[in-house]
Every structure is written in structure tokens, then in C-alpha cells.
């Protein structure tokens, strides 16, 4: 997190020469760095002060005053005696003046381009203005400026640039629908599927967009298709390969069965490259596929704190973990007609706790087709009689067909007889157009 001073560079250079191991943090550059620092500062007790101090520093390195204010507000409460907790009013004033002047300059440039009527200049003017607004944290204005670029596009490269800029702003605004719609626009450009450089960007951004919307299956499908053979500079300001491995692996565990995990994750040469960067995810998936569910869950539990510090994943960690856990319990139960609750507790429950409440929830939600025998302390699989099922399905289908046919006939005849309710007078203050019918209780 700290900048590498010349002394540190010399020190680590020396260590390398001596054969020592040096770990380089792969946190992505760009505006997500501040978001990540602030998120860690707000979420992690041990890292709070350091992260918030770094966030203040990061904010002051840019031109976004609102970010500085946000970071300062947090550190003021969390660590009031740190030097960073003293508000730098002079910097704020200076930066606001600079921002205002730059905004005026770029806007006047743009109006000049508009008067000249040169399309390319107008497009570039909007792009410059959008970039400026993005840097100073005016995301809505940035989005509007980038959106105006669309009117002047003349090549497919321009369309792609425009969409990428809009996606960048949408990621910061957490506008997941906008991300997905802009990715769809990029996908509709002719020839984009052959552009290997864009492939990982499209898949990773789509994955993050769907993850944000809580559509885990779609997110996993996209992330697993990302190809790291393309240069990482197209996407590393959004997510690192480690992030992709974690997002893709966890989501695949949450939504895919064992066969698909084997074929689409472990045997997938493209995604395997990502997985190598986070070997614990690969191990967890391997354990799940091999039926070692408690080992799988314990690996994931040990990394849960890290996942909770991720800006895109944190909100969904509990849901994803719960799904994985439920899948483990269901898969564990599949080969048996009944299992003792004690053995389930031994495998899945936390120390001194019972799994029964979780089983009740799973049965109620329909994810586990079983019943609990409280007397024998057994979880018993529901054995359905195919003949009984057939009889009830046949009779239900016949009854449903008859009922629907009657209902449709009734409605056809009501309409044919002109007996539809028609709109009457508008009630004062009411939106409903009430029919003028006989009042309740009166005999017609």
C-alpha cells in the first residue's frame, strides 16, 4: 500500500539477488484503489487506521475533493489523533479552484468545437470533459458527457471506447444494469468476438455486473470464460487475476453441480490459469468434487475474512457461503436413504451447535427433499411412489385442463354477452375508474 521508496527498492533488489522471496501486492491501479482502501478501512478492525490513512493519501493524490472529505470523515471518527484526521482546508480550497477552472476551460473548448461543427473534435471534447468529471468525482456528469460521445461516433473503436468509459463510471456508481447493457452494446459490435484483447475485459466486467445484481449463475458463466492469454492491461484496473479466480471459483461452487465443476472449472484450461493464482480455491473445488465437503467448507471459512474485504464480493459473501454449505449438505445426503443427525452435526455443525435448524430451513425452502424423524434422530429421504405420482399428476392435469377450459368459456360468453365491466365516472382523488353498478346488498 505504501509507495516504494528508493531505499526499499534497493533493499528488495538486494534480497532478490540473494535468492529471497519477494511478494508484490497486485492491487489494481486506478480509482478502485481508493474504493478498496476505504472499504477495508470501514470493515477491518486490525487494518482500519492504516487503510484509512492510505485512503486519505490516495484521495489527496487525485483531484476528487468529495473522496478526501469521505475518507477524512471516517478517519476523524476512527482515529482522531492521527495527523490525517486534521482537515486540510487549504488543499480543499486549492483543489476546488483548480477543478472549477479546468471544468470551465473544457466546457468552453467543447462549445467552441460545437460551433465549428467538427464531429471528431466534439467527440474528443466530450471525452476530455467526461474524464475530468470522472477524476473529480462528478460521476453523473461524467456519465452524461460520455453518453454524448455516442452521437458523434464514426468507427467501431469509438463505440467501444464510449462503452468502456461508461462502464468505468457505472462500476464506480455500482450501476450494475448499466454495466450489463453497455457490455451488450460492445458484444453487438461486429468483429468484437474475434478481438482476443477484449475477451477477458468483456467476460470479467459482465461477471462483476451480474454478481452485483445477485445473478450468480450468469456471473459464474462469464467469469469462467475469461481468457488470461490476452494482455491483462485491459482489465487490471477493474480486477486482478486473483480476484477473477476467487469470484469465478466461489460462484461456480455456489451454482454448479459436481460434474460441471469438474468440466467447466477444474478441466477448463483457460480458467485454470486464473485458479493457479489462488490455489486455495482450486483445493476447495477439488475437495467438493471428491466429496470431502467438510474440508471444502473449512478452507472457505479460513479465507472468509479476506472475501469480506473485497468491494464487489463482500455484500454477497454470506449468500454465496450459505448456498455452498447447503449444496454440501444436499450432496452429502444424496447416496443415503437416511442419515443420523449426529453424523451430520459431526460433519457440518460448528462446535457445540446443531445443524437441525439449518436442515429445517433447507427442507422448507425445497433445497433438501427429506424429513426429520425427531424420535430416531434421523434425516430420512422422501421416497416417492412413481405410481402414486403418476396418478396424481394425471388427475391434476385433467382437472386443471377442465377448470381452465370452463373459465375461458365463461369469460368468452361474458364478453360475447356484453357483460364486461366498463369504466364509469372518475372518483375524485381516486385513480380507479369505478363502474357504476348496483350498490352492495341491493337486489337488481
Amino acid at each position: 500500500m505504501a509507495h516504494l521508496t528508493p531505499d526499499l527498492q534497493n533493499y528488495f533488489g538486494h534480497m532478490r539477488q540473494q535468492g529471497g522471496v519477494v511478494v508484490e501486492s497486485e492491487k489494481p491501479p486506478g480509482r478502485t484503489q481508493f474504493d478498496r482502501l476505504l472499504h477495508i478501512g470501514r470493515s477491518s478492525i486490525p487494518l482500519c487506521v492504516d487503510a484509512l490513512k492510505a485512503a486519505v493519501k490516495e484521495a489527496k493524490a487525485g483531484g476528487d475533493v468529495s473522496r478526501y472529505n469521505e475518507a477524512w470523515e471516517n478517519i476523524r471518527v476512527a482515529a482522531p489523533y492521527e495527523p490525517e484526521a486534521i482537515k486540510d482546508e487549504e488543499w480543499i480550497k486549492r483543489q476546488n479552484d483548480i477543478n472549477k477552472k479546468e471544468s470551465t476551460r473544457l466546457e468552453s473548448n467543447l462549445s467552441g468545437y460545437k460551433q465549428n461543427g467538427i464531429k471528431e473534435s466534439i467527440r474528443m471534447g466530450n471525452e476530455d470533459l467526461g474524464q475530468h468529471y470522472e477524476q473529480i468525482g462528478k460521476l453523473r456528469e461524467a456519465s452524461d458527457a460520455y453518453g454524448r460521445m455516442r452521437h458523434e461516433v464514426s468507427t467501431t473503436k469509438h463505440i467501444m471506447d464510449c462503452c468502456q468509459r461508461l462502464i468505468s463510471v457505472a462500476l464506480q456508481r455500482r450501476d450494475w444494469s448499466s454495466i450489463i447493457s453497455n457490455i451488450a452494446k460492445i458484444n453487438s459490435i461486429q468483429g468484437v468476438e474475434d478481438d482476443r484483447g477484449m475477451q477477458p475485459y468483456i467476460k470479467i466486467v459482465s461477471g462483476i455486473g451480474y454478481l452485483g445484481k445477485g445473478l450468480f449463475k450468469e456471473a459464474a458463466d462469464n467469469l469462467l470464460q475469461a481468457d488470461l492469454s490476452a494482455p491483462a492491461d485491459t482489465f487490471n484496473d477493474i480486477a486482478t487475476p486473483n480476484d477473477v479466480a476467487i469470484y469465478g471459483g466461489l460462484l461456480a461452487l455456489a451454482v454448479m453441480d459436481r460434474d460441471r465443476l469438474q468440466t467447466r472449472v477444474l478441466d477448463n484450461p483457460q480458467f485454470r490459469v486464473f485458479l493457479e493464482t489462488e490455489s486455495h480455491i482450486r483445493k476447495a473445488i477439488t475437495h467438493f468434487v471428491s466429496g470431502r465437503y467438510s474440508a471444502c467448507l473449512s478452507i472457505l471459512e479460513s479465507y472468509k475474512a479476506d472475501y469480506l474485504l473485497d468491494i464487489y464480493l463482500s455484500k454477497h459473501v454470506e449468500t454465496i457461503f450459505s448456498r455452498i454449505r447447503q449444496k454440501c449438505i444436499t450432496q452429502y445426503f444424496v447416496p443415503f436413504s437416511c442419515v443420523t443427525l449426529d453424523s451430520l452435526n459431526e460433519t457440518f455443525a460448528h462446535d457445540g451447535q446443531s445443524i437441525e435448524a439449518e436442515l429445517v430451513d433447507m427442507i422448507r425452502s425445497g433445497s433438501l427433499n427429506a424429513r426429520i424423524d425427531s424420535e430416531s434422530r434421523l434425516l430420512v429421504a422422501v421416497q416417492s411412489d412413481p405410481r402414486l405420482e403418476m396418478q396424481y399428476a394425471a388427475l391434476k392435469a385433467a382437472r386443471k385442463y377442465g377448470d381452465e377450459a370452463k373459465e375461458r368459456l365463461r369469460r368468452i360468453n361474458l364478453i360475447a354477452a356484453g357483460l364486461e365491466v366498463k369504466a364509469g365516472k372518475q372518483q375524485p382523488g381516486g385513480e380507479i375508474a369505478w363502474a357504476e353498478g348496483a350498490p352492495l346488498g341491493a337486489v337488481s
Binding site: A394, R399, G402, A417, L419, A435, G437, A438, S444
Partner: protein
């Protein structure tokens, strides 16, 4: 006078003649014409010797004559024309007519029969129970197929609701009515006395067996039917009836207050019937789907709190909206819903447990509404098992062992014969429906508006075939620039 009674007795033709339908049709029409021509004399004769008239006009053999005699006598009783007429005699005539009328002859005197039925439905001749039974039986005999709604249904249903004689009208309330007065009439070319004539052909406004009805009339009938089933605690049928009022077709965003009142009750009886919130069928008007939940937030909240799994939201929703329930007249239904909450909790336990101790059940439902001791829980379970709402066995522990509830399979495997019977029944229903569909198709295909629409469509299709571009080129103005959409105005003049 003897001559007049001879006229009255001149129908039907003697049975020994074995007359055909056509001759009977002709004879009935002649008979009605003659009666109308000699109405004044006949009235005088009936009033002077009503006992003889009643004897001659036996409804089983001469329903047309009996209708006339009953009409004359009820008019006289109403206007007190003749003091010699005993009300008991008139009541007897009406009773005989409504219970023993000939189902073919009555089609010729539909409006007279309907007016008599309507007058009886006012309840001034018989006790409410007898009135409801008589009217229900008469409606059933008029339309054995039970498919045509008539103007008589609503008064009978309302009478049964007001006088609490629901049982008497259940045979007609249970019917699946699919035809309604006001639909375009069809020239069928068959005789009214044809025993095989489908009821939608003869129960029409032109025969007088029904009057025209308004949409609110039909809507209210469904609503009242729902209330009737509610009084019988038949929640499933009540839900179906209310659902028909809620999903009633409408246009121009038209909905009715009756539909809204039905919607509130539909939500409540849905909870009572299935223990879950009912869902509107896909043919419900979009406007209804969106507006009704907004207008009934108290009921929606009640439904959500019923399904929440804990009792606190339910009790607080019920108490905070007490004024709403009172205003809508749904207090008793809401009380039923609250009462059913514990029972539905127990029933739903079958989806999770195969057997569980009574102490656990007690724990589950004690958190709901009111605390029960083990004895109360066992009594509740026994009553539920006895009523058939819970398929389970109560196993009492011996020697200090705990009592257990063992859930049983709620669906039983049918024998081959029973299954075949059920399938045959469904087949029969669907076959009957197919006939009704054919009837509707014929009726709508011969509708004047439909025929003219089809003729127009055919003409258009032929025109398009000749000229695929249609009138596009003809409609183009000479000077119109298609690319810019501008019109070049010629200013040379």
C-alpha cells in the same frame, strides 16, 4: 263457462295419439293463441270457480294452462279482486307448478313462468326455506345441464344468504355457469319442445325464461356465492367464487367496488383454504393486478404476516387495522384467519418432520398467539385428525415416554378401478365442455358483427394479394421527398 274450461282443458293432445314434436309445438302455440284471445272470459271463469280450474290445469300435464291459472290467481290475491279465493289454494297451485312443471311446455310460457318464480322469490307465499328449496329445484329442472345463468339466480342466492338457508340453494350455487343472457341469439331451426335442445338455445330473453342482466348483477352473484360458501366454511369454493368476481372481465380500466370487496375476502379465504396466499390467475386484468394490492394494503400486510412464521406481526397487523376490518365487515373472517394460524403451523410441520414429540409442537405453536399446555395441544391435534385436516397418528407414550405425532402420507394410492373411474369422469367433463365450445363457436360464427368483420378481412386479403404494396404508392404525394419527409410546396400559382 263450461266452454272456457273446455278451452283450458284442450291441451295437451291425448297421449294415445303419440304426436310428434312438430305437432306438439303447433298445438302449444295454437293453445296459447286461443288462451290469449279468450283471456278475459277465462279470468272470469277461473275466479268464479278456481277449484275446478286448478283441477283441470295440472302442471304435470298442462303447464301452460297452469301458468295462466296461477298468474290469474296470484294477481287476484294481490289486488284482492275476489274474497272467495283462499290464499292456501293459491299457495298450493304455486307449489305444484314450481315443483311439477313440464320442462318442455314451460319453454312456451317463459316470461309468465319467470314472473311467477320472481314473485315467489320475494318470499311472500312460503317460508324462506321452502321458497329457497322450491326456486332452487325449479331452476335446476329448467336447466338440467346447469350451464346458463339467468336473472333468477341472484335473488335466490340473496334470499338464502339473508335467511340463512344456504343448504337449500347449494345445488344451483355449485353449478359451473358458462352461458349468460345477452349473447347474440342464434337461428337454430329446432323446435322449442325438442327434448335434446341445449339449454342456451331456450333459456333466452326471447323465450322469457330469463331477463337481461347487468354486469353488476353477475358480479354480485359471484360475490354472494362466495359469502354463501363462507357461511358454510367451505373455503376452497368460497375462494373460487370470490376469484371469479375479482377476475371478472372489464374494459377501459373498468373495475367494480364489488370486485374490490371480493378481493379482500378472496385473500382471507385463500389463507384459510390452503394456508398460503392465493395467487391471481394469468387471465386477471393487468389493471386489477396492480391496483388491488395497493388499495388493500391492510389485507396484504395480514397475508404477509400470516406467512411470516412468527405470531407477532400477525397480532399487531390485526390489532392496528381493527377499524378497517370493521368498516369492510370482515372481522369474523379475520378472526377465523387468526384462529387458523396455529392449525396451519401444525399442518405445515408435515413438510419438515416425519415424526416429532408433542413438546416440540407445543414449543412451535406456543410462540404463536397463545400458549397451550400439553393437554391443549393433544386436544387440538385430536380435533384436527378427527376433522381430516391433519393426516397423522397420535402415539401416546407409556411409562413416562413422550407422546409423538407421526405424520402419514396425505395421498393414498388409488385402485385401478377407482383411478379408471376418476379418469372417465374427467373425460366426461372435457367431452361435455367440447360440446359447449362447439355451441359457442357456432353462435359466435353466425353473429352479424363477426360475419361482417370476416367479410371485411377477406376483402382486404384479396386486395393485398392483388397489390402487395397496398395503397402506399397511391397515397404518395407527387412532390413528397421520402428521404427528408419534407413537402415541397409549389408556389407557382
Amino acid at each position: 263457462m263450461k266452454q272456457d274450461f273446455n278451452l283450458l282443458a284442450s291441451f295437451p293432445p291425448p297421449r294415445e295419439l303419440h304426436i310428434e314434436d312438430q305437432q306438439l309445438d303447433h298445438a302449444a302455440k295454437e293453445y296459447i293463441r286461443d288462451l290469449n284471445l279468450n283471456k278475459a272470459e277465462l279470468k272470469k271463469a277461473v275466479l268464479s270457480n278456481h277449484a275446478r280450474a286448478i283441477e283441470i290445469a295440472d302442471p304435470t300435464t298442462n303447464t301452460i294452462g297452469c301458468c295462466l291459472v296461477a298468474s290469474i290467481l296470484t294477481d287476484a290475491l294481490r289486488s284482492k279482486d275476489s274474497t272467495a279465493i283462499e290464499p292456501a289454494a293459491v299457495h298450493q297451485v304455486l307449489f305444484n307448478l314450481l315443483s311439477r312443471f313440464d320442462v318442455l311446455q314451460v319453454r312456451y310460457v317463459g316470461s309468465l313462468f319467470r314472473s311467477i318464480l320472481e314473485e315467489v322469490c320475494t318470499g311472500k307465499f312460503f317460508s324462506p326455506l321452502l321458497t329457497a328449496e322450491l326456486a332452487s329445484a325449479a331452476i335446476s329442472r329448467l336447466d338440467p345441464s346447469g350451464s346458463v345463468y339467468t336473472s333468477a339466480y341472484l335473488p335466490v342466492a340473496k334470499l338464502a344468504l339473508a335467511e340463512d338457508c344456504v343448504e337449500a340453494v347449494l345445488p344451483i350455487i355449485d353449478r359451473d355457469l358458462t352461458f349468460f343472457p345477452g349473447a347474440p341469439t342464434m337461428r337454430h331451426g329446432r323446435l322449442l319442445c325438442d327434448a335434446a335442445l341445449p339449454s342456451p338455445y331456450y333459456i333466452t330473453k326471447s323465450t322469457g325464461l330469463t331477463d337481461d342482466v347487468e354486469p353488476a348483477h353477475v358480479l354480485e352473484y359471484y360475490y354472494v356465492s362466495g359469502l354463501l360458501y363462507t357461511t358454510r366454511r367451505n373455503w376452497t369454493k368460497a375462494r373460487k367464487s370470490f376469484e371469479r368476481a375479482v377476475t371478472y372481465p372489464g374494459k377501459d380500466h373498468g373495475v367494480s367496488r364489488i370486485s374490490l370487496a371480493a378481493y379482500k375476502r378472496w385473500l382471507l379465504v385463500g389463507l384459510l383454504a390452503d394456508g398460503v396466499a392465493p395467487t391471481l390467475p394469468n387471465y386477471t386484468l393487468t389493471w386489477t393486478k396492480h391496483s388491488f394490492p395497493r388499495l388493500c394494503t391492510a389485507y396484504i400486510n395480514l397475508t404477509e404476516s400470516f406467512l411470516a412464521g412468527t405470531s407477532e406481526p400477525l397480532t399487531s397487523t390485526v390489532s392496528t387495522n381493527a377499524a378497517t376490518w370493521e368498516e369492510d365487515g370482515t372481522q369474523s373472517l379475520v378472526a377465523e384467519v387468526v384462529d387458523a394460524y396455529q392449525r396451519w403451523l401444525i399442518v405445515k410441520l408435515r413438510h419438515v418432520y416425519s415424526r416429532l414429540p408433542i413438546s416440540q409442537i407445543q414449543q412451535e405453536i406456543t410462540s404463536a398467539l397463545m400458549s397451550l399446555n400439553a393437554g391443549d395441544v393433544i386436544a387440538l391435534l385430536e380435533s384436527m385428525i378427527a376433522s381430516g385436516s391433519l393426516k397423522a397418528e397420535l402415539r401416546r407414550g407409556t411409562g413416562g415416554e413422550e407422546d409423538y405425532l407421526i405424520f402419514q402420507e396425505d395421498r393414498a394410492l388409488l385402485s385401478e378401478a377407482d383411478f379408471a373411474r376418476e379418469i372417465a369422469q374427467s373425460h366426461h367433463t372435457i367431452t361435455a365442455l367440447t360440446e359447449e365450445y362447439k355451441l359457442v363457436n357456432e353462435r359466435l360464427s353466425t353473429n352479424r358483427e363477426y360475419v361482417s368483420h370476416m367479410a371485411r378481412e377477406k376483402k382486404r386479403a384479396e386486395k393485398e394479394k392483388e397489390n402487395p404494396m397496398g395503397d402506399f404508392e397511391e397515397n404518395l404525394e407527387d412532390d413528397e421527398d421520402l428521404m427528408t419527409g419534407d413537402m415541397q410546396i409549389d408556389n407557382t400559382d
